[in-house]
């Protein structure tokens, strides 16, 4: 386990815990951004350059902005309720711990995955592009279609009722949709 991985992993886990645990939801969103950026760093460490940058572009650039806009639009920024936890939080915590246990146990015990790092595999943009336009062209098209549908669907869901469509009725969701358009790497 290298030092850099240790740093990345600890920062990521800490940010994730913060994202799920802080009282102020805007802070949660910012912590989420840090956690996702940490994941992007992990991708870079794993020689997945393209995915790492795409992760930053989509999550830091788009999803994070989308989340904070949603927070502002729903006025969740200042918690009015004394408790931030849902009534059944204890059960939830138990379940989460159990799931963690059953995930960690096999990882720790499995003999078949203790491998050394193989020589670096090149995943150049050129190769990825070839694969996207060749073998994976159908999923690519379907994803594009899905994003278009999500774009239109999100606009329609979030559109304020009984108002002319022409005005920008809801900056948050509009921006979300615009962002999701970028998320499909051209």
């Amino acid at each position: 386990m290298t030092l850099s991985f240790a740093i990345i992993a600890s920062v990521t886990v800490a940010a994730a815990v913060a994202a799920m645990g802080l009282r102020n939801i805007v802070h949660c969103a910012l912590a989420l951004t840090v956690a996702l950026a940490g994941l992007a760093a992990a991708y870079l460490q794993l020689d997945a350059q393209f995915v790492g940058f795409a992760q930053i572009l989509v999550y830091v650039g788009a999803v994070a902005i989308l989340v904070v806009f949603a927070i502002l639009l729903t006025r969740s920024g200042d918690p009015a309720h004394p408790s931030v936890l849902s009534p059944g939080w204890l059960a939830g915590a138990v379940i989460a711990v159990v799931v963690l246990g059953v995930l960690v146990y096999p990882i720790a015990r499995s003999p078949s995955i203790s491998r050394t790092l193989p020589p670096p595999a090149g995943a150049t943009v050129h190769q990825i592009g070839d694969a996207l336009m060749g073998r994976f062209v159908l999923p690519l098209e379907v994803t594009g279609l899905l994003l278009t549908v999500a774009l239109i669907g999100a606009v329609i869901i979030a559109m304020r009722e009984k108002e002319p469509i022409g005005t920008i009725s809801n900056p948050g969701s509009e921006i979300a949709n615009r962002k999701s358009q970028i998320a499909n790497p051209p």
Binding site: M1, F5, M20, L46, I107, A121, A123, Q127, A183
Partner: protein, 103 residues
């Protein structure tokens, strides 16, 4: 411990944290954030197995993650739009109060 279990453990922790958050928080946006974390944990698994797997030249893990990111973006957009629509209607983002679909 070799690097692969490290990444897998990181992924498992992120997944569990995301699940715990989604189960414990009462704000719908945070539930969504938790789901987002779980998705990313899964993505990390794909990348890790791609890197340490037998056929890295097949790029399957990378491409799966690329599509997964695209789908996650769509999911986030629609999910947040739904939350905003619900907020506009019920004036709440508390998941416990959203029980209109009760059987």
């Amino acid at each position: 411990m070799s690097p692969l279990p490290g990444y897998l453990l990181l992924s498992a922790f992120l997944f569990a944290i995301g699940l715990g958050g989604a189960l414990m928080r009462r704000n719908a946006i945070l539930v969504l954030i938790g789901v987002e974390l779980m998705l990313n944990a899964a993505n990390l698994n794909f990348i890790a197995f791609w890197r340490f797997g037998a056929h890295p030249e097949a790029l399957t893990g990378i491409l799966f993650v690329i599509f997964s990111i695209g789908v996650a973006a769509a999911e986030a957009a629609v999910g947040l739009a739904l939350i905003i629509a619900i907020y506009r209607h019920y004036k709440t983002t508390n998941v416990d109060e959203m029980t209109a679909l009760k059987g």
